[in-house]
Amino acid sequence: MIKKLIASLSNISGLSCRQATRLAAKAMDTPLDRGERMELYCHHMICSTCRNYARQLKLMRSWLREFGQKIESPTGLSSSRKEEIKTRLKSEPPSEL
């Protein structure tokens, strides 16, 4: 019932949920034009699921930015690899100054 209602209301706004998820993704990379913004806005007014989706895309971006800076995470270069690299570095001829 509710689903039907949402579907018919969404038809007025012109977007299906699938299209709304694509638009929300597009908005993460490039500014939407006026029409697209309006369509997405109208869809979000009536669809909490797509609202969640759009908000979560932004959340994930902020987490990933933080993730990229997480250089204090527990793993490190294995000690055997460190020794191997040191040996390789020592065998490099000294550069000319």
Binding site: C50, R65, R88, S95
Partner: protein, 203 residues
């Protein structure tokens, strides 16, 4: 010796007369470089190789280092280029996994283009700040990112982590813009789904 910035009390060994001790680099920066690479290439083996290449490239070009930046950021700069080279190599291969992954837009979650609202995105609780303090959350993030095919992951990392513009990613990975948007859309959908199932529905 152009700079005294290299002279640290810990510097020792056969290269100490040059004020540069490359083996000290490995102890001081190795782990940090490794983690920087691991986040972006996901496989420990690949990350280790890239770090090794970085140190070798650094020792060959050490004369170009004038101490304008810190030793650390100089090395990270070299590593970034090594990671881009690795991505470029991925861009030359189209794999079956890519195609399979990109084809699937979670069809079972939609009915006639509308979310089956029982299966669609839920309200995540707790959001934001609270989760990022938990190491287990980041492990889930790592596991979920590991599910993405290599090329899709490369595109996604460049866009989301390092904020590289779409056009540059296309050139680097040798793909069209519409290809890129599909990749990013699917990566986002896949990661969201995975985090919801393996973190938010569990906690």
């Amino acid at each position: 010796m152009e700079s005294t910035e290299f002279a640290t009390p810990r510097s020792s060994g056969s290269n100490s007369d040059r004020n540069i001790d490359p083996t000290r680099w490995v102890d001081e920066h190795g782990d940090c470089l490794f983690r920087f690479a691991l986040v972006r290439v996901r496989t420990a083996e690949v990350a280790e190789d890239l770090v090794q290449e970085t140190f070798l490239a650094a020792i060959r070009s050490r004369d170009q280092f004038r101490g304008r930046s810190s030793e650390r950021s100089w090395l990270v700069g070299i590593l970034k280029n090594k990671i881009l080279d690795y991505y470029r190599k991925l861009g030359r291969e189209t794999t079956f996994t890519d195609l399979e992954f990109l084809k699937d837009e979670l069809p079972h979650k939609f009915e006639d283009g509308f979310w089956n609202h029982a299966l669609g995105p839920k309200n995540w609780k707790p959001e934001s700040d609270e989760v990022t303090h938990k190491e287990e959350f980041w492990q889930t993030m790592r596991d979920c990112l590991a599910n993405l095919p290599d090329r899709v992951s490369a595109a996604f990392m460049l866009r989301e982590i390092d904020d590289v513009p779409g056009k540059e990613i296309c050139t680097l990975l040798n793909i069209t813009e519409s290809n890129l948007w599909v990749m990013l859309h699917r990566a986002r959908m896949g990661l969201r789904e995975c985090l919801e199932v393996h973190w938010f529905e569990k906690s």
